[in-house]
Structure formats: C-alpha cells, structure tokens
Symmetry: C2
Subunit: 160 residues, 2 copies
C-alpha cells in the first residue's frame, strides 16, 4: 500500500503541533525549489542571488560587511565570493584604505546578469503572490522573524 492510512497520517500532522519545524523545512524547500527552477537557466542559487543583490546595492563593501548583511559566517561568504569572482560576476579591488579589506563590486557581466536575475526574481515573487495574499505574506514573514530574530528585550542586557 502506498498510502497506508490517510487518516492516521493526517492525525500525525495535526496532533503533533510541533511538527512546525518539519512544516517549516518543507516550505523552505518548496520555496527554494521554485526559486531554483526560476534561476536554473542562470545557474544561480538563492545564496548567490542574495550576495549579488547586496553587492549591487552596496558596492565597495568588504567581505566582512557582506557577511554582516547576510548574517552568515565569513567563512561562507568567502566561498560565495570566490565562486562569483571565478564566474566573472564580481571583482575585488584593494580597498583605498589598505590592502586587507576588499572593495567588492559587480563587473559589467555581473550588472548585465542582474537584469535577468531581477526578472527571474519577479517571476518568483509572482509565484509566491499566487499562493498567498500580500497580507498573508506579511503576516507570515512577521511570524517567521519572531522565530529567529532576536526580540527586543528577549535577552538580558550584555554583561560585558
């Protein structure tokens, strides 16, 4: 039997209110999957598009700043930057103030690609909008942020 017990399965889903984590991950994968199908022609993953978008918006940022924007460990952005640089989409110039911090910016090819990526992104957003209303989306985002964003007053004042 390929669906042993629909009622039972449903009860599993509903009773264990805390399958929230699972629900979250599946939704994540679904959204990323739709994103991937939209961006597949450009071979761009979500993380790459985010990095490119931030670089586009804040050209001249350093890798550490990019990491801050992405709220991701530096070690990870390094890999992204390496890949983007290898593909000729970004360039890293020695910062004016010194040689350590790198001033990252899009190349011409990067700018050109971003035009297409933004279009793909709009299609992705359109898909999401077909699934839920803007009000629902806003509420969803607010609830999600409540789960991971440090809430004001939720942590005691720094002891340092």
């Amino acid at each position: 039997m390929e669906n042993p017990n629909d009622d039972a399965e449903m009860s599993i889903e509903l009773e264990m209110g805390s399958w929230l984590g699972r629900n979250l991950r599946r939704a994540t994968n679904a959204v990323f999957g739709q994103f991937a199908s939209e961006f597949a022609p450009f071979n761009i993953r979500p993380a790459l598009y985010l990095a490119l978008s931030i670089i586009e918006r804040f050209p001249g940022s350093s890798g550490a700043e990019l990491s801050d924007y992405m709220t991701v460990p530096r070690a990870n952005t390094v890999v992204l930057l390496k890949e983007l640089e290898g593909r000729g989409l970004i360039k890293r110039a020695p910062n004016a103030t010194g040689r350590r911090a790198q001033a990252i910016s899009l190349t011409e090819a990067g700018h050109a690609l971003m035009i297409e990526l933004h279009a793909a992104h709009e299609r992705h957003v359109a898909y999401l909008e077909s699934v839920m209303s803007e009000a629902e989306s806003n509420f969803l985002n607010a609830l999600l942020q409540r789960l991971w964003k440090p809430q004001a007053g939720s942590s005691p004042p720094s002891e340092a």
Copy 2:
C-alpha cells in the same frame, strides 16, 4: 564596523519581499536549534524523533510505510532505522506475511526513552507557545502547508 548600516540592512530585509525563502530557512534553523537543545541530552535529532513517534503510533509498519508517513525517500529512512536499531531503540522483525517487508516496532528501551522524549517535546512546544499564540501558530502552519502541500485542484487528475 560590525553592523555597517542598520537601516540599509533593514531595507534589504523588507524591500525584497522574496527573502521569504531566507526567512523560512532561518526560522527553520531556529526552531530546529531549540529542538536540538531540548533533545541534546538524548542525542536525538528531529528526524529520529519523528521516526520513533511514528513507529510508536503504528507499530509493525514496514520501512516503506514509514517512508510514506514521513514523506521522505526510502533511502533516508533506511539510514534512520539503521541508527535507531543500532542504538537498540527499535527492532525489525520479519513480517508474518513474508521476509521482505519488515515489521518495525519499539524495543523496551525505545519505549522507555520515548517517555523522556515526549517530555522534552512538550518543553519544545511550550517554547513555541511562548513565541506565538495558538491562533498564530495555526495560521502559520496553514500558510506553510499552502507552500508545500499539493493543493486540491492544483494538479490535473492523474492521467494513468
């Protein structure tokens, strides 16, 4: 500077409505992280707890059935079952109807552990309830399911 531009960062988060994917992943990780901290003493990951819970509820299931319940490829449940069996939490008996399908059930140790795991799970749920109300949680779950669950009428009737 460790937080280069709070306003800019916020604008990134808000303008790109489609950072929903990112928002989802971070929320997922946060929820799983809280789960992990609660289950750390037992060295049980979410997937293991889910598998154990299903086996507890539907003893005698086969691996394929468990895969159906979890909506996960068989290849993955095999690994989970192997780990759980290795830890003495489940047993696999030759099914009465034949030798292929395995009748999976909890061992005594498995049942004993589940008592503690359920308690840990309740603490996890309590945490989630401290973050959002039940109404919000229900709405969140509904929206999430809309993102990944096949919607009624969203796919054409089977052509088979």
